[in-house]
Symmetry: C2
DNA sequence: ATGCATATTGACCTAAGTGGTCAAATAAAT
DNA sequence: ATTTATTTGACCACTTAGGTCAATATGCAT
C-alpha cells in the first residue's frame, strides 16, 4: 500500500486508521471527532495537532485513498483476457486481497464511492466519478459476449450477474463482521466464490460446442 | 389496509404518516421527534398529546404494522402453486401493490425487518422473527424443485436468484425516489420485471422436454 | 351567548453531544 | 539545563435531543 506513506508518527497513524473506520461506518456528517480520538486511544488535541479540522482530515483520507487506488488498482487488470468470467474472477480476487489486507481503507472507499460527491472539491469529485465509471468499464470492456447464450437478453443477463455478485459480497462482509483476519486464510471463501461463479457460468454461457 | 383504522383524528394520522417515513429513513435512534412534527405540519405538543413518548410511538407503529401484515399478507400466498417462478411472481406482484399504495408503511417495515429486534419487547421481537422466516418459507415451501436444471447446485441457484431480486428491488426503489405515484401506473415496471423473470427462468430451469 | 371539554401551539427546560481551542504537562533532543 | 516537539483533557460556544406545560383556539351542548 503506497497510500499514507508520508506518515511517520505512530500517533498520526492511529488517528488515520480510526478515522477510516469511523467515516466508513457513519459517513462524514455522522462521524464524530470525539469517537475518532477515543477509537485511536489518543487525546482530543492530537487530531487538531496533525490536522486542521474534521473536513481536512476527511479530504486527506479521500485524497490518499484515491491515489492508492489510482496507482495500485487501475492498470493492474488484464484487459487482454476476453472471457467475462475470467475477468470477473481476476477483479474479485484482487478486491478480496485488498479487503483482507486493508479492510479499513476498503470500507472507507466503498462509503466514498456510494456517497454523493458533489459537496467535495471538484478535483476529488471528478476523480471519484472517473473511478466509478472506469471500475465498471474494466469489467465489461473488450469482453467476448458471443460466449453468452444468444436466447437471453445480454444486458439483462449482465445486470443479473452484477446484482448476484453484489449480494454475495454483502453476505460475505456481513459474515465477516467482527472477525479478526489479520492472518486469516481466505482460501475457503475463494473456493466458495468459485462455486458460485461456476453456477453462473453454466447458467448464462452457451453450451460447449455451439457458437 | 386494516391497520391504523382506529385512528379518528386527522392530526394523529399526519403524525403516524410522518413518523413512518422518519423512522424508515433514519432508524429509531437517529429519528427525531422534532423532524416528525415538522414533517407532519403540527405543533410539537401533539406528538405527546397522542403518544406518551418517542418509544411508545415507535412501538405503536411496529405493533400495527405487524398486525396489518399478519392479517393481509400471510395466508394470501397460494401455496398450491408448485412452480417456483409463478410463486415468485405472485409474491412480488403483491409486494409491489403494497409498495405503491402504502410506501410509507412498506419502507418502515423494511427497516424494522432488517434491524436487530433484540431491544424490542419479546412479544414484538418474536413476531418479527416469525415474519422473517415465514416470509422466506412462503417462497420456498411446496415448490417443485425438479424443474430446475440438475447440473446446478439448487441451493446456490436459489441464493443467486434471491440476490438478483434484492438487487432489482433496490434499483427500482432507487429509481422511484422522489417520484409521486399516487396515481402511477405500475404496469411498465411490471412488464420489465417479467422480462427479468423470463431470463432467470430460461437460465435456471431445465430445457423443456427433459425431466 | 356561555360554559366546558377537547385540541393545538410553540416557547422553554435539561441533558447530551458537536467541532474546536488552549494552557499546562510531558517527553525528546540539544 | 534549556529548548523544542508531543500530548493531554478540561473547557467553550453551539446545536439538537426528548419532553413539558401554560396559554390559547376550537367545537359543541345548553
Amino acid at each position: 500500500m503506497v497510500a499514507f506513506n508520508d506518515i511517520q508518527e505512530e500517533t498520526q497513524k492511529k488517528i488515520v486508521s480510526a478515522a477510516l473506520e469511523e467515516f466508513a461506518e457513519k459517513g462524514y456528517d455522522q462521524a464524530s471527532t470525539n469517537r475518532i480520538v477515543k477509537r485511536a486511544g489518543v487525546g482530543k488535541g492530537m487530531l487538531y495537532y496533525y490536522f486542521k479540522n474534521k473536513k481536512e482530515l476527511y479530504l486527506y483520507l479521500v485524497e490518499n485513498s484515491l491515489e492508492a487506488i489510482e496507482h495500485e488498482y487501475i492498470n493492474k487488470i488484464d484487459l487482454s483476457e476476453t472471457d467475462f468470467f475470467e475477468r470477473l474472477q481476476e477483479i474479485v480476487e484482487f478486491k478480496m486481497k485488498v479487503y483482507f489486507k486493508h479492510s479499513g481503507f476498503f470500507n472507507f472507499m466503498s462509503q466514498v464511492l456510494v456517497m454523493e460527491s458533489s459537496h467535495l472539491p471538484d478535483n476529488l469529485a471528478n476523480r471519484i466519478d472517473t473511478l466509478r465509471t472506469e471500475g465498471m468499464g474494466k469489467l465489461y470492456q473488450n469482453v467476448d459476449y458471443s460466449r453468452f447464450r444468444d436466447d437471453l437478453d445480454v444486458e439483462k443477463t449482465l445486470q443479473l450477474i452484477q446484482w448476484s455478485l453484489d449480494g454475495y459480497a454483502n453476505s460475505i462482509i456481513e459474515r465477516l463482521k467482527g472477525i479478526d483476519f489479520s492472518q486469516f486464510e481466505y482460501e475457503s471463501y475463494h473456493e466458495e466464490f468459485m462455486e458460485y461463479l461456476e453456477v453462473l457460468k453454466k447458467a448464462f454461457y452457451q453450451k460447449k460446442g455451439d457458437e
